[in-house]
Symmetry: C2
């Protein structure tokens, strides 16, 4: 009998997932029901494959969800994360399996017992970060444990960037994902564990307190802390680890420069500015600088931030056009919204540009009296504008998981994330066919 | 017939207000009904005056409010500001006048038309800041306008500090008011107007972007921005002013030093720390410093903040005991709560210490082709531990307003703040009897 896979949401990350499912649909006897706000948009994702069925679905018209779920064997939700609990409740009610790439929310976690009791799998955090990071980290953590080693330190850093060939602006960054999230990144600060001590980095220090790493032949990156690293102690069962840190990767110079916006208050999203649409970019910048009589905005910016006029750092800001008399368009905008308006066209991914996902884990462990360091590094370059590195690394792991589950190669139930060998081993193996291949390096420290 | 004045709340600022009312109660034929959580506590505020009646009232048992309001001619609410709308609604219902020292909330503002229609006065913002600042500023603004001058700039700065004779710690600061508010001060940043341009100062710049002023023979003070100065354009009818700034006063050095806590994230109140009650003060500080292998907490603190060991600035922190191995008591505490635990006993007002309120307005205006500067300065020193400068300056203006209104010397209705001559003139005149006397200085610039 034909198995029906329902895909809710056909946004940026859906393309590679849908392609994976459709490519195997004839062989595995699947019907792939793809939904989007309009049937046309859903249709456009199917590339004429006869096993694909387009349907219109809008999460704001939730009353159509039960019918869609009823007519499926497995549900994939790529909707914004806040909608997953609603979908999960419907799956629970109708006895359907659910697959998402999002973090397990408390609401989702609360459904674990009932899902288990009904023999349902609710697989979450099965994209790139979270997802590939879990799988690749747990593979090595399990290896170290099995070899009798004692893990002392684990750092895991990931970044979504532009591929080196297209990395041609002074910030060495382009938006390969939601621009607003990049503008607001880090506002919650970061927590981590170092030498068994808790460390807290507030937002105003986050982009200052960076460190530099090298990844394979891809050169250097700066790392800034990524939210609450401590939560991974439980997830990865690392209760006795000394150092646990998760970070985000940017090219050298980016963090130090972006920090100027943070220090000046230009990333604040908590209040709206007076008459924002009456300001020019230059006025907007000046509003965050202290008053200095008769001093140009350029000189005031340098005096305030400590930058040198004409330096590489300073030129990043000139290149953004922030000293220019261009009119701000947004009315009643927060500082962060205006900043996004200024930056977004400058950091836009060009129509021929490819993106890049970079991930590196670093483990320090003790074995037979020796202290060893193992690095595991991944770089994925996008194939084209549709099958971006982001779309591949977010969508393909989830698609593989669905396949392994529906073909019976993977068995699990309850609310699950991919940290067990029976899940991550076949997934990581197959991901290598998609260029998702970790390179390991090991040395004695 | 005897007039009944209901005083809701008998906290720190109530003493001078109650004394003022009771002192005049025989002459003016008043009964002053003072409420507190317990009748005993209310009784203790009456000092045996037969015109005082103690009653128990707890805002959490709101059902007793209608009866209290019914048995009064005027209601004074010194309850926390969030409760004023509830009290105001009851006053509206029963046709009673209301007096508070708090900012007019949107809910309060919405009652203006109905209060006016019923001939009721709801007087707000009639303490020190807001209150005395409004009255003393408007007096001069009106004078400048009447003389034909054009006001170009208005700065208004206020601080609650320890009196010079008792100013004997390295921070030159003691808590004369709610400690938690001082620890969290400034988190919303500040907005102001300078040379017709809007200026925004984020929290992470607020204690850096200070300026220094002198007040009479009381020496120097540093000023940091106080929230939204822009709102005063409307309140004071200053639509065409070039510069409008409100600030908070501290002794020189305080802001620069306190900024270290802000920069390190130690004033954050948005999350709780892991195992806060397992930490010593020293551990707590170290948790906010970057990891530096083999570096002492003292050296790390200096490296991170740029302070010099042994400097006056550094010694402020040594004096707080923050490098010591004293155990933190609070469990599940936010960084700000732990900081308060450390600082509160150190900055406590001693049993013989007197407090001080300092206020200075600076006006720049043009008149007959000349640019004039006028300063208006106020310093009030507390009388004793009960009648503190804070209690006098918060409570007496409101008490005078109640008297002026009940004796018919002041007429007004609706939701009002003291910015009109018919209110501020008699109030400022009588305040001089309580040591609340502004000294004016004027010169041509």
């Amino acid at each position: 009998m034909k198995k029906k896979i329902l895909v809710l949401g056909a946004g940026m990350s859906a393309s590679s997932l849908i392609k994976y499912l459709l490519d195997r649909s004839s062989e595995l006897n699947w019907e792939v029901i793809v939904t989007a706000r309009s049937t046309e948009k859903a249709q456009s994702k199917l590339e004429g494959n006869p096993n694909g069925t387009p349907k219109a679905f809008d999460i704001n018209n939730i009353e159509t969800l039960p019918e869609l779920v009823a007519d499926s064997d497995a549900v994939i939700s790529l909707l914004p994360a806040k909608y997953h609990p609603v979908v999960a409740q419907e799956c629970l009610k109708q006895g359907k399996h659910l697959f998402t790439t999002s973090y397990v929310s408390p609401e989702m976690k609360a459904m674990d017992a009932e899902a288990k009791a009904k023999g349902l799998l609710f697989l979450n955090e099965c994209g790139v970060d979270p997802g590939i990071d879990h799988m690749s980290a747990m593979k090595i953590i399990d290896e170290i444990n099995h070899s009798g080693g004692t893990l002392k330190s684990f750092e895991s850093n990931t970044g979504g960037l532009v591929a080196p060939e297209f990395d041609n602006n002074p910030w060495n960054y382009k938006f390969t994902w939601n621009a607003r999230n990049v503008i607001l990144a880090g506002q919650a600060g970061a927590k981590y564990l170092q030498d068994k001590k808790y460390k807290y980095i507030p937002y105003q220090q986050l982009f200052k307190r960076t460190y530099r790493i090298s990844v394979l032949e891809y050169g250097e990156f700066d790392v800034y802390g990524n939210r609450d690293s401590l939560s991974y102690r439980e997830v990865y069962d690392l209760q006795n680890i000394d150092t646990l840190f998760r970070g985000t990767l940017r090219r050298p110079g980016y963090c130090q420069a972006y920090d100027a916006f943070i220090q000046l208050g230009m990333t604040d999203d908590s209040y709206t500015m007076e008459n924002s649409d009456k300001l020019t970019y230059r006025d907007y910048l000046e509003a965050f600088l202290p008053y200095r009589d008769g001093v140009s905005v350029e000189d005031n910016f340098c005096l305030t931030t400590g930058m040198e006029k004409g330096s590489d750092m300073y030129n990043k800001f000139v290149w953004l056009g922030i000293f220019e008399n261009t009119q701000v368009k947004l009315a009643n905008a927060t500082p962060a919204q205006v900043l996004q308006e200024i930056i977004e066209p400058k950091w836009a991914l060009g129509s021929k540009d490819l993106d890049m996902i970079v991930m590196q884990h670093r483990f320090v462990y003790e074995l037979n009296g020796k202290t060893m360091e193992r690095k595991s590094s991944l770089v994925v370059i996008g194939e084209d504008q549709v099958h971006t590195a982001m779309s591949i690394t977010v969508g393909v792991p989830l698609a593989i998981a669905v396949k392994l589950f529906l073909t019976g190669e993977m068995k699990a139930s309850g609310v699950v994330i991919p940290v067990k060998p029976e899940v991550y081993t076949p997934l990581l193996n197959e991901l290598e066919n998609f260029g998702v291949k970790f390179i390991e390096e090991e040395k004695e420290l």
